[in-house]
Symmetry: C2
Protein backbone atom coordinates (compact mmCIF):
# COMPACT_ATOMS: atom_id res chain seq x y z
CA UNK A 1 0.00 0.00 0.00
CA UNK A 2 1.36 3.36 -1.06
CA UNK A 3 0.62 5.10 2.21
CA UNK A 4 2.92 2.75 4.09
CA UNK A 5 5.80 3.80 1.84
CA UNK A 6 5.05 7.45 2.53
CA UNK A 7 4.87 6.81 6.26
CA UNK A 8 8.31 5.20 6.22
CA UNK A 9 9.85 7.89 4.03
CA UNK A 10 8.51 10.76 6.12
CA UNK A 11 9.17 9.04 9.42
CA UNK A 12 12.92 9.32 8.80
CA UNK A 13 12.88 13.08 8.30
CA UNK A 14 11.10 13.43 11.60
CA UNK A 15 13.77 11.52 13.44
CA UNK A 16 16.48 13.78 12.07
CA UNK A 17 14.59 16.83 13.28
CA UNK A 18 14.01 15.25 16.69
CA UNK A 19 17.75 14.66 17.04
CA UNK A 20 18.38 18.32 16.39
CA UNK A 21 15.80 19.32 18.98
CA UNK A 22 17.28 17.10 21.68
CA UNK A 23 20.64 15.64 20.73
CA UNK A 24 21.43 12.12 21.91
CA UNK A 25 23.48 12.63 25.09
CA UNK A 26 23.93 10.81 28.35
CA UNK A 27 22.42 13.43 30.65
CA UNK A 28 19.34 13.13 32.83
CA UNK A 29 16.99 14.46 30.20
CA UNK A 30 18.34 12.97 26.96
CA UNK A 31 18.82 9.51 28.33
CA UNK A 32 15.24 8.79 29.43
CA UNK A 33 13.92 10.65 26.38
CA UNK A 34 15.88 8.60 23.86
CA UNK A 35 15.35 5.40 25.78
CA UNK A 36 11.66 6.12 25.24
CA UNK A 37 11.73 7.63 21.73
CA UNK A 38 13.92 4.87 20.36
CA UNK A 39 11.63 2.13 21.46
CA UNK A 40 9.98 1.58 18.13
CA UNK A 41 7.43 4.34 17.79
CA UNK A 42 5.99 4.27 14.29
CA UNK A 43 6.09 8.07 13.86
CA UNK A 44 2.67 7.66 12.29
CA UNK A 45 1.15 10.90 13.57
CA UNK A 46 3.89 13.20 12.27
CA UNK A 47 4.07 11.36 8.95
CA UNK A 48 0.34 11.99 8.49
CA UNK A 49 1.02 15.69 8.97
CA UNK A 50 3.53 15.72 6.12
CA UNK A 51 1.39 13.52 3.87
CA UNK A 52 -1.66 15.78 4.29
CA UNK A 53 0.41 18.91 3.76
CA UNK A 54 1.75 17.53 0.50
CA UNK A 55 -1.62 16.17 -0.63
CA UNK A 56 -3.11 19.64 -0.27
CA UNK A 57 -0.37 21.27 -2.32
CA UNK A 58 1.89 22.43 0.54
CA UNK A 59 5.60 21.92 0.98
CA UNK A 60 6.07 19.05 3.45
CA UNK A 61 9.48 20.38 4.51
CA UNK A 62 7.72 23.37 6.04
CA UNK A 63 5.59 20.99 8.10
CA UNK A 64 8.47 19.06 9.69
CA UNK A 65 8.74 21.24 12.84
CA UNK A 66 5.03 20.91 13.56
CA UNK A 67 5.04 17.21 12.72
CA UNK A 68 7.91 16.70 15.16
CA UNK A 69 5.96 18.59 17.82
CA UNK A 70 3.06 16.18 17.36
CA UNK A 71 5.35 13.18 17.76
CA UNK A 72 6.88 14.75 20.87
CA UNK A 73 3.43 15.37 22.31
CA UNK A 74 2.50 11.74 21.77
CA UNK A 75 5.59 10.54 23.59
CA UNK A 76 5.29 13.08 26.37
CA UNK A 77 1.81 11.80 27.10
CA UNK A 78 2.89 8.17 27.05
CA UNK A 79 5.62 8.99 29.57
CA UNK A 80 3.29 10.79 31.98
CA UNK A 81 0.34 8.45 31.45
CA UNK A 82 2.43 5.39 32.27
CA UNK A 83 3.17 6.92 35.67
CA UNK A 84 -0.43 7.95 36.19
CA UNK A 85 -1.79 4.58 35.13
CA UNK A 86 0.91 2.59 36.92
CA UNK A 87 1.82 0.87 33.65
CA UNK A 88 5.21 -0.74 34.14
CA UNK A 89 5.78 -1.83 30.54
CA UNK A 90 5.73 0.19 27.33
CA UNK A 91 6.42 -1.33 23.92
CA UNK A 92 7.61 -4.49 25.66
CA UNK A 93 10.28 -2.69 27.72
CA UNK A 94 10.13 -1.24 31.22
CA UNK A 95 8.42 2.16 31.17
CA UNK A 96 10.60 5.25 31.69
CA UNK A 97 9.42 5.79 35.26
CA UNK A 98 10.33 2.21 36.12
CA UNK A 99 13.80 2.52 34.62
CA UNK A 100 14.70 6.10 35.60
CA UNK A 101 12.39 6.80 38.52
CA UNK A 102 9.20 8.81 38.73
CA UNK A 103 10.96 12.15 39.23
CA UNK A 104 13.03 11.85 36.06
CA UNK A 105 10.05 10.56 34.09
CA UNK A 106 7.82 13.50 35.07
CA UNK A 107 10.61 15.90 34.33
CA UNK A 108 11.62 14.36 31.01
CA UNK A 109 7.98 14.53 29.91
CA UNK A 110 7.81 18.18 30.93
CA UNK A 111 10.98 18.88 28.97
CA UNK A 112 9.62 17.16 25.87
CA UNK A 113 6.64 19.49 25.87
CA UNK A 114 8.94 22.51 25.96
CA UNK A 115 10.85 21.13 22.97
CA UNK A 116 7.59 20.69 21.07
CA UNK A 117 6.70 24.37 21.55
CA UNK A 118 10.25 25.35 20.63
CA UNK A 119 9.98 23.36 17.41
CA UNK A 120 6.82 25.16 16.33
CA UNK A 121 8.06 28.60 17.46
CA UNK A 122 11.27 28.27 15.44
CA UNK A 123 9.58 26.90 12.32
CA UNK A 124 10.21 28.86 9.14
CA UNK A 125 6.64 30.05 8.56
CA UNK A 126 4.88 33.44 8.59
CA UNK A 127 3.86 34.74 12.03
CA UNK A 128 0.15 34.17 11.47
CA UNK A 129 0.65 30.51 10.58
CA UNK A 130 2.97 29.90 13.48
CA UNK A 131 0.41 31.35 15.88
CA UNK A 132 -2.33 29.26 14.31
CA UNK A 133 -0.23 26.11 14.73
CA UNK A 134 0.55 27.02 18.33
CA UNK A 135 -3.17 27.45 18.86
CA UNK A 136 -3.98 24.03 17.40
CA UNK A 137 -1.20 22.43 19.38
CA UNK A 138 -2.30 24.02 22.65
CA UNK A 139 -5.94 23.08 22.05
CA UNK A 140 -4.88 19.49 21.40
CA UNK A 141 -2.61 19.38 24.41
CA UNK A 142 -5.33 20.66 26.73
CA UNK A 143 -8.08 18.45 25.40
CA UNK A 144 -5.86 15.40 25.77
CA UNK A 145 -5.03 16.29 29.37
CA UNK A 146 -8.75 16.77 30.07
CA UNK A 147 -9.39 13.33 28.59
CA UNK A 148 -6.70 11.81 30.76
CA UNK A 149 -8.26 13.45 33.83
CA UNK A 150 -11.57 11.80 33.01
CA UNK A 151 -9.90 8.51 32.21
CA UNK A 152 -7.95 8.14 35.45
CA UNK A 153 -10.99 9.04 37.51
CA UNK A 154 -13.43 6.63 35.89
CA UNK A 155 -11.60 3.62 37.28
CA UNK A 156 -13.97 1.15 38.81
CA UNK A 157 -17.02 3.35 38.35
CA UNK A 158 -20.32 1.51 38.18
CA UNK A 159 -21.88 4.42 36.35
CA UNK A 160 -19.58 4.42 33.37
CA UNK A 161 -21.59 4.60 30.14
CA UNK A 162 -20.77 4.36 26.45
CA UNK A 163 -21.35 8.13 26.24
CA UNK A 164 -18.76 8.65 28.98
CA UNK A 165 -16.38 6.42 27.09
CA UNK A 166 -16.84 8.28 23.82
CA UNK A 167 -16.47 11.68 25.48
CA UNK A 168 -13.28 10.59 27.23
CA UNK A 169 -11.79 9.03 24.14
CA UNK A 170 -12.64 11.95 21.89
CA UNK A 171 -10.71 14.19 24.28
CA UNK A 172 -7.90 11.80 25.01
CA UNK A 173 -7.29 10.23 21.62
CA UNK A 174 -9.03 12.02 18.77
CA UNK A 175 -7.45 15.46 19.12
CA UNK A 176 -3.90 14.38 18.97
CA UNK A 177 -4.48 11.77 16.34
CA UNK A 178 -5.93 14.54 14.18
CA UNK A 179 -3.91 17.62 15.00
CA UNK A 180 -0.99 16.59 12.79
CA UNK A 181 -3.28 16.35 9.78
CA UNK A 182 -4.94 19.64 10.70
CA UNK A 183 -1.54 21.32 11.05
CA UNK A 184 -0.42 19.93 7.70
CA UNK A 185 -3.57 21.36 6.12
CA UNK A 186 -3.01 24.77 7.74
CA UNK A 187 0.56 24.88 6.45
CA UNK A 188 -0.68 23.98 2.96
CA UNK A 189 -3.11 26.89 3.17
CA UNK A 190 -6.31 24.82 3.26
CA UNK A 191 -9.66 26.55 3.81
CA UNK A 192 -11.40 26.64 7.20
CA UNK A 193 -14.08 24.39 5.73
CA UNK A 194 -11.51 21.73 4.87
CA UNK A 195 -9.92 22.00 8.29
CA UNK A 196 -13.27 21.54 10.04
CA UNK A 197 -13.90 18.35 8.09
CA UNK A 198 -10.46 17.00 8.94
CA UNK A 199 -11.20 17.52 12.63
CA UNK A 200 -14.50 15.69 12.04
CA UNK A 201 -12.74 12.80 10.35
CA UNK A 202 -10.41 12.50 13.35
CA UNK A 203 -13.22 12.64 15.86
CA UNK A 204 -14.71 9.50 14.33
CA UNK A 205 -11.41 7.82 13.64
CA UNK A 206 -9.96 8.41 17.12
CA UNK A 207 -12.63 6.49 19.00
CA UNK A 208 -12.61 3.75 16.32
CA UNK A 209 -8.87 3.46 16.85
CA UNK A 210 -9.28 3.26 20.61
CA UNK A 211 -12.05 0.66 20.52
CA UNK A 212 -9.81 -1.50 18.33
CA UNK A 213 -7.07 -0.97 20.90
CA UNK A 214 -9.43 -2.13 23.65
CA UNK A 215 -10.24 -5.25 21.64
CA UNK A 216 -6.59 -6.00 20.93
CA UNK A 217 -5.90 -5.97 24.65
CA UNK A 218 -8.07 -9.10 24.85
CA UNK A 219 -6.28 -10.96 22.06
CA UNK A 220 -2.59 -10.14 21.53
CA UNK A 221 -2.05 -7.60 24.33
CA UNK A 222 -0.76 -4.05 24.02
CA UNK A 223 3.01 -4.25 24.11
CA UNK A 224 3.12 -5.03 27.79
CA UNK A 225 5.29 -8.11 27.45
CA UNK A 226 2.64 -10.30 25.85
CA UNK A 227 0.22 -9.83 28.74
CA UNK A 228 -3.44 -10.14 27.79
CA UNK A 229 -6.12 -8.13 29.57
CA UNK A 230 -4.01 -5.25 30.93
CA UNK A 231 -7.08 -3.04 30.87
CA UNK A 232 -8.95 -5.49 33.08
CA UNK A 233 -6.03 -5.81 35.50
CA UNK A 234 -5.70 -2.06 35.75
CA UNK A 235 -9.44 -1.46 35.92
CA UNK A 236 -9.29 0.75 32.84
CA UNK A 237 -12.72 1.74 31.58
CA UNK A 238 -12.82 0.22 28.08
CA UNK A 239 -15.63 0.28 25.55
CA UNK A 240 -16.30 -3.38 26.36
CA UNK A 241 -16.64 -2.57 30.03
CA UNK A 242 -19.04 0.31 29.39
CA UNK A 243 -21.19 -1.80 27.07
CA UNK A 244 -21.28 -4.82 29.35
CA UNK A 245 -22.22 -2.63 32.33
CA UNK A 246 -25.18 -1.34 30.33
CA UNK A 247 -26.39 -4.86 29.47
CA UNK A 248 -25.44 -7.16 32.35
CA UNK A 249 -27.78 -8.45 35.02
CA UNK A 250 -27.26 -7.28 38.61
CA UNK A 251 -25.06 -10.19 39.72
CA UNK A 252 -22.80 -10.09 36.66
CA UNK A 253 -22.53 -6.35 36.93
CA UNK A 254 -21.52 -6.54 40.56
CA UNK A 255 -18.90 -9.18 39.85
CA UNK A 256 -17.52 -7.18 36.91
CA UNK A 257 -17.09 -4.04 39.00
CA UNK A 258 -15.58 -6.06 41.82
CA UNK A 259 -12.92 -7.44 39.49
CA UNK A 260 -12.19 -4.06 37.95
CA UNK A 261 -11.62 -2.61 41.41
CA UNK A 262 -9.16 -5.36 42.41
CA UNK A 263 -5.55 -4.20 42.66
CA UNK A 264 -3.59 -5.22 39.58
CA UNK A 265 -1.46 -7.78 41.44
CA UNK A 266 -4.45 -9.73 42.68
CA UNK A 267 -6.14 -9.89 39.27
CA UNK A 268 -5.06 -13.36 38.12
CA UNK A 269 -5.25 -14.72 34.58
CA UNK A 270 -8.30 -16.78 35.52
CA UNK A 271 -10.09 -13.67 36.78
CA UNK A 272 -9.22 -11.90 33.50
CA UNK A 273 -10.70 -14.89 31.74
CA UNK A 274 -13.87 -14.54 33.79
CA UNK A 275 -14.29 -10.98 32.55
CA UNK A 276 -13.68 -11.99 28.95
CA UNK A 277 -16.40 -14.62 29.36
CA UNK A 278 -18.74 -11.94 30.70
CA UNK A 279 -17.93 -9.75 27.70
CA UNK A 280 -18.74 -12.65 25.41
CA UNK A 281 -21.94 -13.51 27.29
CA UNK A 282 -23.31 -10.03 26.58
CA UNK A 283 -21.94 -9.99 23.04
CA UNK A 284 -19.72 -7.01 23.88
CA UNK A 285 -16.91 -8.07 21.57
CA UNK A 286 -19.10 -8.27 18.48
CA UNK A 287 -20.90 -5.08 19.42
CA UNK A 288 -17.59 -3.24 19.87
CA UNK A 289 -16.38 -4.39 16.49
CA UNK A 290 -19.57 -3.24 14.81
CA UNK A 291 -19.47 0.07 16.65
CA UNK A 292 -15.90 0.71 15.54
CA UNK A 293 -16.87 -0.13 11.97
CA UNK A 294 -19.70 2.38 12.18
CA UNK A 295 -17.26 5.05 13.28
CA UNK A 296 -14.93 4.25 10.39
CA UNK A 297 -17.87 4.64 8.01
CA UNK A 298 -18.57 8.04 9.57
CA UNK A 299 -14.96 9.00 9.01
CA UNK A 300 -15.22 8.06 5.35
CA UNK A 301 -18.34 10.15 5.09
CA UNK A 302 -16.47 13.16 6.49
CA UNK A 303 -13.75 12.62 3.92
CA UNK A 304 -16.24 12.85 1.06
CA UNK A 305 -17.27 16.23 2.45
CA UNK A 306 -13.75 17.71 2.66
CA UNK A 307 -13.87 20.55 0.10
CA UNK A 308 -10.67 19.58 -1.69
CA UNK A 309 -10.01 17.77 -4.94
CA UNK A 310 -7.58 15.23 -3.59
CA UNK A 311 -9.71 13.03 -1.37
CA UNK A 312 -7.81 9.90 -2.34
CA UNK A 313 -5.02 10.50 0.16
CA UNK A 314 -7.49 10.94 3.00
CA UNK A 315 -9.25 7.72 1.98
CA UNK A 316 -5.94 5.90 2.04
CA UNK A 317 -5.11 7.36 5.43
CA UNK A 318 -8.48 6.32 6.83
CA UNK A 319 -8.12 2.87 5.31
CA UNK A 320 -4.71 2.52 6.86
CA UNK A 321 -5.83 3.74 10.26
CA UNK A 322 -8.86 1.48 10.30
CA UNK A 323 -6.49 -1.47 10.17
CA UNK A 324 -3.90 -0.29 12.66
CA UNK A 325 -3.71 0.26 16.36
CA UNK A 326 -2.38 3.03 18.56
CA UNK B 1 6.89 50.59 51.04
CA UNK B 2 5.23 51.56 47.80
CA UNK B 3 6.11 48.39 45.95
CA UNK B 4 4.15 46.29 48.42
CA UNK B 5 1.03 48.32 47.65
CA UNK B 6 1.54 47.76 43.93
CA UNK B 7 2.06 44.07 44.48
CA UNK B 8 -1.23 43.80 46.35
CA UNK B 9 -3.14 45.89 43.84
CA UNK B 10 -1.89 43.98 40.83
CA UNK B 11 -2.15 40.61 42.50
CA UNK B 12 -5.94 40.94 42.56
CA UNK B 13 -6.24 41.51 38.80
CA UNK B 14 -4.23 38.36 38.25
CA UNK B 15 -6.61 36.28 40.32
CA UNK B 16 -9.59 37.47 38.30
CA UNK B 17 -7.85 36.46 35.09
CA UNK B 18 -6.89 33.08 36.55
CA UNK B 19 -10.52 32.41 37.42
CA UNK B 20 -11.49 33.08 33.82
CA UNK B 21 -8.80 30.72 32.58
CA UNK B 22 -9.89 27.87 34.85
CA UNK B 23 -13.20 28.54 36.59
CA UNK B 24 -13.60 27.24 40.12
CA UNK B 25 -15.43 23.92 39.71
CA UNK B 26 -15.48 20.60 41.48
CA UNK B 27 -14.02 18.48 38.69
CA UNK B 28 -10.79 16.53 38.71
CA UNK B 29 -8.75 19.37 37.29
CA UNK B 30 -10.22 22.46 38.93
CA UNK B 31 -10.32 21.01 42.40
CA UNK B 32 -6.63 20.19 42.82
CA UNK B 33 -5.69 23.37 40.93
CA UNK B 34 -7.67 25.68 43.18
CA UNK B 35 -6.74 23.77 46.28
CA UNK B 36 -3.18 24.61 45.29
CA UNK B 37 -3.63 28.13 43.86
CA UNK B 38 -5.68 29.27 46.82
CA UNK B 39 -3.10 28.32 49.36
CA UNK B 40 -1.66 31.75 49.82
CA UNK B 41 0.62 32.31 46.87
CA UNK B 42 1.78 35.92 46.90
CA UNK B 43 1.34 36.41 43.15
CA UNK B 44 4.66 38.24 43.31
CA UNK B 45 6.01 37.15 39.94
CA UNK B 46 2.99 38.26 37.91
CA UNK B 47 2.71 41.52 39.82
CA UNK B 48 6.32 42.28 38.91
CA UNK B 49 5.38 41.81 35.25
CA UNK B 50 2.67 44.47 35.50
CA UNK B 51 4.81 46.83 37.57
CA UNK B 52 7.68 46.69 35.07
CA UNK B 53 5.31 47.11 32.14
CA UNK B 54 3.85 50.22 33.69
CA UNK B 55 7.24 51.59 34.80
CA UNK B 56 8.46 51.42 31.21
CA UNK B 57 5.43 53.25 29.85
CA UNK B 58 3.33 50.27 28.82
CA UNK B 59 -0.30 49.51 29.60
CA UNK B 60 -0.33 46.97 32.44
CA UNK B 61 -3.75 45.65 31.37
CA UNK B 62 -2.11 44.33 28.23
CA UNK B 63 0.35 42.41 30.37
CA UNK B 64 -2.24 40.57 32.48
CA UNK B 65 -2.44 37.44 30.28
CA UNK B 66 1.33 37.02 30.28
CA UNK B 67 1.56 37.79 33.99
CA UNK B 68 -1.06 35.13 34.67
CA UNK B 69 0.94 32.66 32.58
CA UNK B 70 3.98 33.32 34.76
CA UNK B 71 1.97 32.68 37.92
CA UNK B 72 0.58 29.49 36.40
CA UNK B 73 4.05 28.34 35.47
CA UNK B 74 5.23 28.89 39.03
CA UNK B 75 2.38 26.82 40.44
CA UNK B 76 2.71 24.11 37.83
CA UNK B 77 6.32 23.65 38.80
CA UNK B 78 5.53 23.54 42.51
CA UNK B 79 2.95 20.84 41.85
CA UNK B 80 5.31 18.64 39.82
CA UNK B 81 8.38 19.37 41.93
CA UNK B 82 6.62 18.34 45.12
CA UNK B 83 6.02 14.91 43.59
CA UNK B 84 9.56 14.70 42.26
CA UNK B 85 11.10 15.81 45.53
CA UNK B 86 8.72 13.78 47.68
CA UNK B 87 7.70 16.94 49.55
CA UNK B 88 4.50 16.15 51.39
CA UNK B 89 3.73 19.69 52.61
CA UNK B 90 3.37 22.91 50.67
CA UNK B 91 2.52 26.23 52.32
CA UNK B 92 1.73 24.35 55.52
CA UNK B 93 -0.89 22.13 53.89
CA UNK B 94 -0.59 18.66 52.36
CA UNK B 95 0.83 18.90 48.84
CA UNK B 96 -1.53 18.26 45.92
CA UNK B 97 -0.12 14.80 45.22
CA UNK B 98 -0.68 13.82 48.84
CA UNK B 99 -4.27 15.04 48.83
CA UNK B 100 -5.38 14.05 45.31
CA UNK B 101 -2.90 11.33 44.37
CA UNK B 102 0.12 11.42 42.11
CA UNK B 103 -1.86 10.82 38.91
CA UNK B 104 -4.13 13.81 39.45
CA UNK B 105 -1.22 15.99 40.54
CA UNK B 106 0.83 15.25 37.41
CA UNK B 107 -2.20 15.79 35.24
CA UNK B 108 -3.33 19.00 36.94
CA UNK B 109 0.19 20.39 36.51
CA UNK B 110 0.14 19.44 32.83
CA UNK B 111 -3.21 21.15 32.44
CA UNK B 112 -1.96 24.32 34.10
CA UNK B 113 0.81 24.59 31.55
CA UNK B 114 -1.72 24.37 28.73
CA UNK B 115 -3.73 27.18 30.32
CA UNK B 116 -0.60 29.33 30.53
CA UNK B 117 0.02 28.97 26.79
CA UNK B 118 -3.65 29.63 26.12
CA UNK B 119 -3.48 32.82 28.15
CA UNK B 120 -0.55 34.18 26.12
CA UNK B 121 -1.98 33.01 22.78
CA UNK B 122 -5.30 34.75 23.40
CA UNK B 123 -3.76 37.99 24.69
CA UNK B 124 -4.79 41.12 22.86
CA UNK B 125 -1.40 42.01 21.40
CA UNK B 126 0.08 42.18 17.90
CA UNK B 127 1.25 38.85 16.45
CA UNK B 128 4.94 39.71 16.73
CA UNK B 129 4.68 40.50 20.42
CA UNK B 130 2.64 37.42 21.16
CA UNK B 131 5.24 35.25 19.46
CA UNK B 132 8.03 37.00 21.35
CA UNK B 133 6.23 36.35 24.65
CA UNK B 134 5.67 32.71 23.73
CA UNK B 135 9.36 32.50 22.98
CA UNK B 136 10.34 33.97 26.36
CA UNK B 137 7.86 31.74 28.14
CA UNK B 138 9.08 28.59 26.39
CA UNK B 139 12.72 29.47 27.06
CA UNK B 140 11.91 29.98 30.73
CA UNK B 141 9.90 26.78 30.96
CA UNK B 142 12.66 24.70 29.40
CA UNK B 143 15.48 26.22 31.43
CA UNK B 144 13.54 25.63 34.62
CA UNK B 145 12.93 21.99 33.73
CA UNK B 146 16.64 21.60 32.93
CA UNK B 147 17.45 23.06 36.33
CA UNK B 148 15.06 20.68 38.02
CA UNK B 149 16.71 17.75 36.18
CA UNK B 150 20.08 18.82 37.58
CA UNK B 151 18.63 19.42 41.01
CA UNK B 152 16.96 16.05 41.47
CA UNK B 153 20.05 14.24 40.28
CA UNK B 154 22.57 16.00 42.51
CA UNK B 155 21.08 14.43 45.61
CA UNK B 156 23.77 13.05 47.85
CA UNK B 157 26.57 13.75 45.40
CA UNK B 158 30.01 14.15 46.97
CA UNK B 159 31.17 16.16 43.96
CA UNK B 160 28.64 18.94 44.24
CA UNK B 161 30.39 22.33 43.97
CA UNK B 162 29.30 25.94 44.37
CA UNK B 163 29.55 26.27 40.58
CA UNK B 164 27.15 23.33 40.21
CA UNK B 165 24.82 24.99 42.67
CA UNK B 166 24.87 28.32 40.85
CA UNK B 167 24.37 26.69 37.46
CA UNK B 168 21.43 24.67 38.76
CA UNK B 169 19.83 27.62 40.51
CA UNK B 170 20.25 29.98 37.58
CA UNK B 171 18.34 27.48 35.46
CA UNK B 172 15.80 26.47 38.05
CA UNK B 173 15.06 29.79 39.74
CA UNK B 174 16.42 32.78 37.87
CA UNK B 175 14.61 32.37 34.57
CA UNK B 176 11.16 32.22 35.95
CA UNK B 177 11.75 34.85 38.57
CA UNK B 178 12.79 37.16 35.74
CA UNK B 179 10.59 36.22 32.81
CA UNK B 180 7.61 38.19 34.12
CA UNK B 181 9.67 41.37 34.24
CA UNK B 182 11.12 40.63 30.81
CA UNK B 183 7.63 40.04 29.41
CA UNK B 184 6.38 43.27 30.96
CA UNK B 185 9.27 45.12 29.31
CA UNK B 186 8.56 43.52 25.92
CA UNK B 187 4.91 44.52 26.12
CA UNK B 188 5.94 48.08 27.00
CA UNK B 189 8.13 48.11 23.90
CA UNK B 190 11.49 48.24 25.70
CA UNK B 191 14.71 47.97 23.70
CA UNK B 192 16.68 44.74 23.39
CA UNK B 193 19.42 46.39 25.45
CA UNK B 194 17.02 46.99 28.32
CA UNK B 195 15.69 43.45 28.11
CA UNK B 196 19.18 41.96 28.24
CA UNK B 197 19.92 43.91 31.41
CA UNK B 198 16.68 42.77 33.03
CA UNK B 199 17.66 39.17 32.36
CA UNK B 200 21.04 39.97 33.93
CA UNK B 201 19.40 41.47 36.98
CA UNK B 202 17.34 38.31 37.41
CA UNK B 203 20.31 36.02 36.98
CA UNK B 204 21.92 37.61 40.03
CA UNK B 205 18.73 38.02 41.98
CA UNK B 206 17.50 34.45 41.42
CA UNK B 207 20.46 32.74 43.08
CA UNK B 208 20.46 35.37 45.87
CA UNK B 209 16.81 34.54 46.47
CA UNK B 210 17.53 30.82 46.52
CA UNK B 211 20.48 31.08 48.89
CA UNK B 212 18.27 33.05 51.28
CA UNK B 213 15.69 30.27 50.91
CA UNK B 214 18.34 27.70 51.80
CA UNK B 215 19.24 29.71 54.90
CA UNK B 216 15.63 30.11 55.96
CA UNK B 217 15.23 26.34 55.89
CA UNK B 218 17.64 26.26 58.82
CA UNK B 219 15.80 28.86 60.88
CA UNK B 220 12.02 29.10 60.39
CA UNK B 221 11.51 26.33 57.82
CA UNK B 222 9.89 26.60 54.38
CA UNK B 223 6.18 26.22 54.91
CA UNK B 224 6.41 22.52 55.61
CA UNK B 225 4.46 22.66 58.84
CA UNK B 226 7.17 24.40 60.85
CA UNK B 227 9.75 21.71 60.13
CA UNK B 228 13.34 22.94 60.16
CA UNK B 229 15.99 21.43 57.89
CA UNK B 230 13.76 19.95 55.16
CA UNK B 231 16.64 20.30 52.72
CA UNK B 232 18.86 18.20 54.96
CA UNK B 233 16.17 15.56 55.45
CA UNK B 234 15.57 15.35 51.74
CA UNK B 235 19.26 15.49 50.84
CA UNK B 236 18.67 18.59 48.73
CA UNK B 237 21.90 20.13 47.49
CA UNK B 238 21.87 23.59 49.08
CA UNK B 239 24.46 26.35 48.87
CA UNK B 240 25.49 25.52 52.43
CA UNK B 241 26.02 21.90 51.51
CA UNK B 242 28.14 22.79 48.47
CA UNK B 243 30.26 25.24 50.45
CA UNK B 244 30.78 22.90 53.40
CA UNK B 245 31.76 20.04 51.06
CA UNK B 246 34.43 22.30 49.58
CA UNK B 247 35.86 23.18 53.01
CA UNK B 248 35.32 20.20 55.29
CA UNK B 249 37.96 17.69 56.32
CA UNK B 250 37.64 14.09 55.12
CA UNK B 251 35.77 12.75 58.16
CA UNK B 252 33.27 15.63 58.33
CA UNK B 253 32.70 15.42 54.60
CA UNK B 254 32.03 11.70 54.80
CA UNK B 255 29.59 12.16 57.66
CA UNK B 256 27.81 15.02 55.85
CA UNK B 257 27.29 12.96 52.70
CA UNK B 258 26.18 9.98 54.77
CA UNK B 259 23.46 12.08 56.42
CA UNK B 260 22.34 13.64 53.13
CA UNK B 261 21.92 10.16 51.65
CA UNK B 262 19.78 8.91 54.56
CA UNK B 263 16.11 8.40 53.70
CA UNK B 264 14.01 11.28 54.96
CA UNK B 265 12.23 9.22 57.62
CA UNK B 266 15.47 8.19 59.30
CA UNK B 267 16.90 11.73 59.40
CA UNK B 268 16.04 12.71 62.97
CA UNK B 269 16.06 16.23 64.40
CA UNK B 270 19.32 15.49 66.18
CA UNK B 271 20.94 14.45 62.91
CA UNK B 272 19.69 17.67 61.32
CA UNK B 273 21.28 19.50 64.21
CA UNK B 274 24.54 17.71 63.56
CA UNK B 275 24.57 19.04 60.00
CA UNK B 276 23.78 22.57 61.16
CA UNK B 277 26.74 22.32 63.54
CA UNK B 278 28.94 21.21 60.65
CA UNK B 279 27.72 24.16 58.60
CA UNK B 280 28.60 26.47 61.48
CA UNK B 281 31.99 24.83 62.03
CA UNK B 282 32.99 25.70 58.47
CA UNK B 283 31.38 29.14 58.63
CA UNK B 284 28.99 28.18 55.84
CA UNK B 285 26.11 30.26 57.18
CA UNK B 286 28.06 33.50 57.28
CA UNK B 287 29.66 32.76 53.94
CA UNK B 288 26.26 32.09 52.36
CA UNK B 289 24.88 35.36 53.68
CA UNK B 290 27.83 37.30 52.31
CA UNK B 291 27.61 35.51 48.98
CA UNK B 292 23.92 36.35 48.66
CA UNK B 293 24.67 39.98 49.49
CA UNK B 294 27.32 40.03 46.76
CA UNK B 295 24.74 38.78 44.27
CA UNK B 296 22.27 41.46 45.33
CA UNK B 297 24.97 44.07 44.73
CA UNK B 298 25.51 42.64 41.28
CA UNK B 299 21.79 42.91 40.62
CA UNK B 300 21.84 46.58 41.62
CA UNK B 301 24.77 47.13 39.28
CA UNK B 302 22.78 45.62 36.41
CA UNK B 303 19.91 47.97 37.23
CA UNK B 304 22.15 51.02 36.88
CA UNK B 305 23.00 49.76 33.39
CA UNK B 306 19.40 49.31 32.20
CA UNK B 307 19.08 51.90 29.42
CA UNK B 308 15.83 53.40 30.68
CA UNK B 309 15.07 56.57 32.62
CA UNK B 310 12.98 54.99 35.32
CA UNK B 311 15.47 52.91 37.28
CA UNK B 312 13.76 53.68 40.59
CA UNK B 313 11.13 50.97 40.15
CA UNK B 314 13.76 48.36 39.44
CA UNK B 315 15.70 49.44 42.52
CA UNK B 316 12.56 49.08 44.61
CA UNK B 317 11.88 45.66 43.14
CA UNK B 318 15.41 44.52 43.88
CA UNK B 319 15.23 45.96 47.38
CA UNK B 320 11.98 44.12 47.96
CA UNK B 321 13.26 40.85 46.59
CA UNK B 322 16.45 41.01 48.59
CA UNK B 323 14.33 40.89 51.73
CA UNK B 324 11.86 38.23 50.69
CA UNK B 325 11.91 34.54 50.03
CA UNK B 326 10.54 32.30 47.34
Amino acid sequence: MEIEESLKKYGKGIDEHLKKLFPVRDDYLSEPIWYHMDTGGKRMRPALCLIVCEALGGNPDEAVPFAAAVEILHNMFLMHDDIEDGDTMRRDKPAVWVKYGTANAINAGDYLLGRAYRSILDGNLPQGKRLRLLDIFTLTYEKTVEGQALDINWRGSTKFTIEDYLRTVELKTAYYLTCGMVGGAVIAGASDGAIDKIWELGKSMGPAFQIRDDLIDLTVGKGRGGVIGSDIKEGKPSFLYAYTLSKAGAADKERLVEIMLKPRESTSASVVDEVIKLYKKYDAINYSQRFAEGLVEKAFKAIEEIPVENKATFREIAQFMAQRTA
